[in-house]
């Protein structure tokens, strides 16, 4: 019951924030005059000036995609070198060593792609300087990259010009006007609740029992806020948001969830404004929440009813809930809720250990990453939603006897080729790399739980990588050369192929003249479409991943009954 109150309170808050924030993002993307221009314009102009960027320059989809790729590549290369020499740089109170090459490769891809799969331990694998100029920096820039490419795609679907905007200017504006201000506010709230923000690395205390305990602190709060706002998910500490310093109270737990949900939900409203079809956006919004709520309730139920694994211990309750890997302050209800949010919104932070979830409770985050479209991460999520929407329109739109059209623009061979490829990438990456991993000894040796659950660990790792989520079944040994390279590639392709294909779709759609809707048009703004959209997402997802899910979590579940 308490989890339901929490769930619906959060949804209520998000619904309230969606409109103002969505409108705000719309104003940012559309370069509308704002009252806050007085504060932000000088900052932006300063950045344009010292970097030599002309914010007026218009880019077509190819130029936009190329600039996006180039900026991301340069950021990855520079941060890679920082990680490789971090021990020689200042601000290293915990004495972290230089990062090994495959791990550094994995880490920069992981953070640049908004995935945040962490194969290093935050406590001793990375310096404070790296936490800031690599991790925090990439957390901001990857979120900004996702958001601005989404903006470009939205423009392609709504404008009559073939230009999609200016990547640099979009990037500067979204960072300065949206990400930084919200992060600052969130940082202060988190510190108030107990998240440290200091450069004193270690505190050694004398415990009551007379022993010593070394407590690692650090600039945690600045990382923690953008980690969730940017749907990044990488933790300052190994235990991520289950660590009391990252997530000390029920309130921070809720705030972190809200931060994750904030931008992907609001962006759908922005989309409605951009395409001048708020009802279509509303239909998507509600449909996604329906799937989200169903899965959230399912996960909470599973963790509260862990079944025979506990009942055979004959301890209190019948049973009392699956507490393994969970924190008492979050309990067995808010933890799975967090797991649902973090995978639906493609963040990847965890406030409990998903590896120790019940088979079906753990299947929920797995399925969400496989679907990869239930809101999703900042910007990238909307891109996947648009991808699935176009697929839905194409598959069922024919049934009204017209060439399928989306937002008045016909979906023809060129677009459908791109969409088909984009749909293909995700299952291909997950299934192919999982199969390869279980076939090879070097891969299979990363598995730490037996049989079905072991397979689930592998599937989880690659679903997380391909969906750019970043959460893990943490028992899985990620930090091997093989896994660093495999997941690095999966994250890379999972992110860039999809975004570039979607930019190409937008570029191609932008060239078409939109037809005004008529009674003969396939409508995308009513409940029927919502239902079809849900069905297509679930059926396409189910058809693709059903065998894998059956062999993993479902077989595990059945083997335990």
């Amino acid at each position: 019951m308490y989890s339901n109150i929490e769930l619906f309170t959060m949804i209520a808050i998000i619904v309230l924030l969606t409109k103002p924030l969505g409108t705000y993002m719309y104003n940012i993307f559309e370069y509308k005059p704002m009252r806050s221009d007085k504060i932000f314009l000088p900052v932006e102009n300063f950045i344009y000036k010292i970097t030599g960027i002309n914010p007026e320059e218009e880019m077509d989809w190819k130029k936009y995609a190329l600039t996006f790729l180039l900026v991301n590549m340069v950021m990855m290369i520079i941060t890679y070198f920082i990680l490789r020499v971090q021990q020689f740089l200042p601000l290293n109170p915990t004495g972290a060593k230089n990062m090994e090459s495959s791990l550094a490769f994995n880490t920069v891809i992981s953070f640049m792609t908004n995935t945040n799969l962490q194969h290093y331990a935050g406590e001793d694998g990375i310096t404070f300087l790296s936490q800031m100029i690599v991790i925090v920096f990439l957390m901001f820039t990857s979120a900004a990259s996702g958001l601005v490419t989404a903006a470009a795609i939205m423009r392609g679907l709504s404008k009559k010009t073939t230009n999609l905007g200016n990547f640099y200017a979009d990037f500067v504006r979204i960072t300065v006007r949206l990400l930084l201000p919200i992060s600052m506010l969130a940082t202060l709230i988190l510190v108030w609740q107990g998240v440290p923000q200091t450069f004193a690395g270690k505190v050694v205390v004398d415990t009551l029992e007379g022993g010593k305990q070394t407590i690692i602190t650090g600039p945690v709060a600045v990382l923690e806020s953008i980690k969730h706002l940017g749907t990044n998910g990488g933790g300052f500490f190994g235990a991520n948001s289950s660590h009391p310093f990252e997530n000390p109270t029920w309130l921070t737990n809720m705030i972190e969830m809200l931060l994750m949900m904030l931008l992907p939900t609001s962006l759908i409203y922005t989309y409605g404004l951009m395409i001048n079809n708020k009802k279509h956006a509303l239909v998507l919004y509600i449909s996604l929440f329906v799937i989200f709520i169903l899965l959230a309730v399912g996960a909470v139920y599973a963790e509260n009813h862990p079944g025979v694994a506990y009942s055979k211990l004959h301890i209190y309750g019948k049973p009392y809930g699956n507490y393994e890997g969970k924190e008492v302050r979050f309990g067995v209800s808010q933890s799975p809720l967090f797991a649902t949010v973090t995978t639906a919104f493609t963040t990847g932070s965890v406030d409990s250990m998903h590896d120790s979830y019940t088979p079906l409770g753990g299947a929920v985050p797995l399925i969400l990453m496989m679907l990869n479209t239930i809101f999703g991460g900042d910007g990238a999520g909307l891109q996947n939603i648009i991808m699935y929407t176009i697929l839905t329109v194409f598959l069922t739109g024919l049934m009204v006897g017209r060439t399928p059209e989306y937002l008045g623009r016909k979906i023809e061979t060129k677009e459908i080729k791109l969409i088909a490829l984009a749909i293909l990438v995700h299952p291909f990456l997950i299934l192919f790399s999982s199969a390869l991993t279980v076939m090879l000894k070097v891969g299979a040796s990363s598995v730490t739980n037996p049989l079905y659950h072991g397979l689930t660990q592998v599937l989880y790792e690659f679903s997380s990588a391909a969906a750019n989520n970043g959460s893990e079944f943490a028992g899985f040994i990620g930090n091997t050369v093989f896994m660093n390279i495999m997941t690095g590639l999966v994250m890379f392709f999972g992110r860039y192929i999809t975004i570039i294909l979607m930019l190409a779709v937008a570029g191609s759609m932008a060239e078409k003249i939109p037809a005004p809707p008529s009674p003969g048009t396939f409508r995308t703004d009513n409940a029927i479409f919502g239902a079809i959209f849900i069905a297509v997402v679930l059926i396409v997802g189910a058809l693709t991943f059903f065998p894998a899910v059956i062999l993993g979590p479902i077989s595990e579940f059945l083997s335990m009954t």
């Binding site: 069922t396 006897g401 060439t403 016909k410 293909l424 390869l436 279980v438 065998p547």
Partner: protein, 681 residues
Amino acid sequence: MKRKREIKTWSREIVVGAIKNSFIKLNPLYMYKNPVMFVVEVGTFITLLATIFPTYFGSTPDEVGYNALVTFILFVTVLFANFAESLAEGRGKAQAETLRKTKKETMAKLVQSDGSIKIVKSSELKKGDIVICEAGDIIPADGEIIEGLAAIDESAITGESAPVIKEAGGDFSSVTGGTKVISDRIKIRVTVDEGESFLDRMIKLVEGAKRQKSPNEIALTTVLVSLTIIFIVVVMTLYPMAKFVHVRISAATMIALLVCLIPTTIGGLLSAIGIAGMDRVTRFNVIAMSGKAVEAAGDIDTILLDKTGTITFGNRLAADFIPVGGHSKEEVTYYALISSLKDLTPEGRSIVDLARKMGAKAPDDILEGAEVVEFSAETRMSGLNLKDGTIVRKGSYDKVKEYIGEKGGSIPDDLDKEVEKISLLGGTPLVVVKDNEVLGVIYLKDTIKPGMKERFKQLRAMGIKTIMITGDNPLTAKTIAEEAGVDEFIAESKPEDKINVIKREQAQGRLVAMTGDGTNDAPALAQADVGLAMNSGTMAAKEAANMVDLDSDPTKIIEVVGIGKQLLMTRGALTTFSIANDVAKYFAILPAIISETLPAIKVLDVMKLSSPTNAILSALIYNAIIIPILIPIAMRGVKYRPMSANALLMRNLLIYGLGGLIAPFVGIKLIDMIISSIFGM
């Protein structure tokens, strides 16, 4: 009388030919064009190998029987798909055959440069040659009349037995090879070379010899290929993953799963749907130049229609009798009838019809000794001088006014008002006079063809905008437009108006269809997304259009739109059905695969199938026989009635979406019951 173009799908000839062709099409070089079924063919080959060398393919020797069965079912699946395509093609060929019969070798009277006539074979004619045709001759080639006028029997092509008049110059000058001159003598300039005649192209089109995949078909194929690749990945990766959790899958089972999952139903029927769609247009006596044109017809947002001949009959017909000057309606009706008894113009006949309908009756002997006054351009009045001396006239308002003035009669006060009213409505008033008395006015009106109003209503429900083009003045045009229920009209139109309207609509993202027959329609026909030319029209119009109506019925554009929509709907419906089917197949096959290792998986076997092997075979058999079961729908198209997109969607979703989810559960269970009871397996 229309000759029937109905060709039976299941005629013995066609079916036998189709069976033969389904085997010929097994050639991988051909199968490759249908990627989904090509995968099935490759799968068949692999299971065949697994039958012969079981141990190399993860099977135990005692599974040879099972492997052989899987091979057989897969083989039949491919055949079924080929059969569907061949059947559709067979129908096209049969259509072509009937057309080809009209293309006989004939003798032509070639006019040589010196003016003499030489008899040559029609096949020797070249473009630019001039031939002479006289009554009884078959026109040897497509051409244009450059001299003379003739009645021509075009029934060989149109099925319409009434002869049509063709003459040099103007819009009725083109003739088609294979048609027959019934009267008079004409000189024709041949406009095409041998083998490129209109008939030749028609034959090729309906035969499907030059069939190219249409844009939407290519797009859909792309999605199907993408799904197929996904499922290949799913099945291939399933093997190592299953092995990891100690589940053994043989090659035959993997291929069975793959074939069940890839969209074979729609993959097998897709080309049949396309061919059958074209065929439906043909049966409607419309020749579409490409599948693209038929698809575009389904997408039409705006239709441009000529008023005269399309929306209205083009003749002014009596609509009412209005008394003036205190006379009764009966009186004016009666004398209007009398005045027109001998008037054989369409207007006259319509007055008689309407008056009789309204109860007026002329005495049988009224015409005895009566003198007929015919209409003349000068008097602009007509009527009868009856035996008893009564003079009955009807005529135009100003002439009647003059006439009454001469006769010393008086004009009733309300005549002006009534006449003006009719004019304002876009009608033509005819004043009825008895002796020197004005009785009333006949309201002649341009009459809308029956059923047009309903059609426009349907079009509006379908979201299609109609624009009427007319040379009439705006007032008349508005009246007709409102009455017919068209959405927009262009009055006093000039030839270039059509193309401008089309461009304007297209600039707003709409697809436009229009009909036309004249040479000055040609640019507009070419500009339109769907241009339907009348077969009676000029060659230029026919060349510019992407469809030609052999019956020359301009209203057919509306049916063509319906056929286009039906074609797209059929594809969408069967795609949805095909994909929805997969859910049940999973529930049949996956538990069967895993149950050996993990018996608890049986809870997922919701159909409670008799054994794992039977489950896989049942799913596979279902997957095969659903193709022939759906052939009739693919051929006929899903049911289409004009309605809004939403209503259509709901209907099709229920039948093909929900139906597609449920049908295989029932089907597979049934097949399983049959297998297990008959073979006791």
